[in-house]
Symmetry: C2
Subunit: 117 residues, 2 copies
Amino acid sequence: MTTVTNTRELAHPERDEIRLEGILHALSDPMRMRVVRALATTEGELSCSYFVLPVTKSTTTHHFRVLRESGVIRQVYRGTAKMNGLRRDDLDALFPGLLDSVLDAAGRQAGRLGDGV
Amino acid sequence: MTTVTNTRELAHPERDEIRLEGILHALSDPMRMRVVRALATTEGELSCSYFVLPVTKSTTTHHFRVLRESGVIRQVYRGTAKMNGLRRDDLDALFPGLLDSVLDAAGRQAGRLGDGV
């Protein structure tokens, strides 16, 4: 099945348009952090439907959009699936060590509070 | 002059009440980041009046409150001055390397965009 959706390009900031405050805002939500932590554990991409978050579908879509528009993730349509991947290369080039230290902090907190992914 | 204000204790989260999402939210605002970067360059405390931010006084007060309530800074009254200090010990104990990597990222962005403190 070919639909308009399949070929739609989603808007992403270029590397030099990514801002630290946008990244930190994107990562300041527990649901979005959960998505980012899952993406960080995989080499490839994960579909939106892979994630079952305890929020509505529209809220889930909102969270992915915030992550995409801040430059944290890249979203592409592959067939009917919207696939998500961390923009690790861009983030590491702009802010070396930042993503890893945030992921480490999230892992520590999840371990401490017992609310890990 | 002795006033009630002088002895008022401001509410702070204990170390184990500090949450990563609160820290990231607090740091996701450029004005608050400016305050944190200035505090990071001093060993001691800085008064609120030290900071001249391009926002109203009430907005400035709001920013300091967000930083305090998230656990990023400690605020104490000394005489008539409200003094501010980074809670570096608490942050480094909870999330080793996080504060430094965020400060490094902020410095890189300020250098790149030419909007340093």
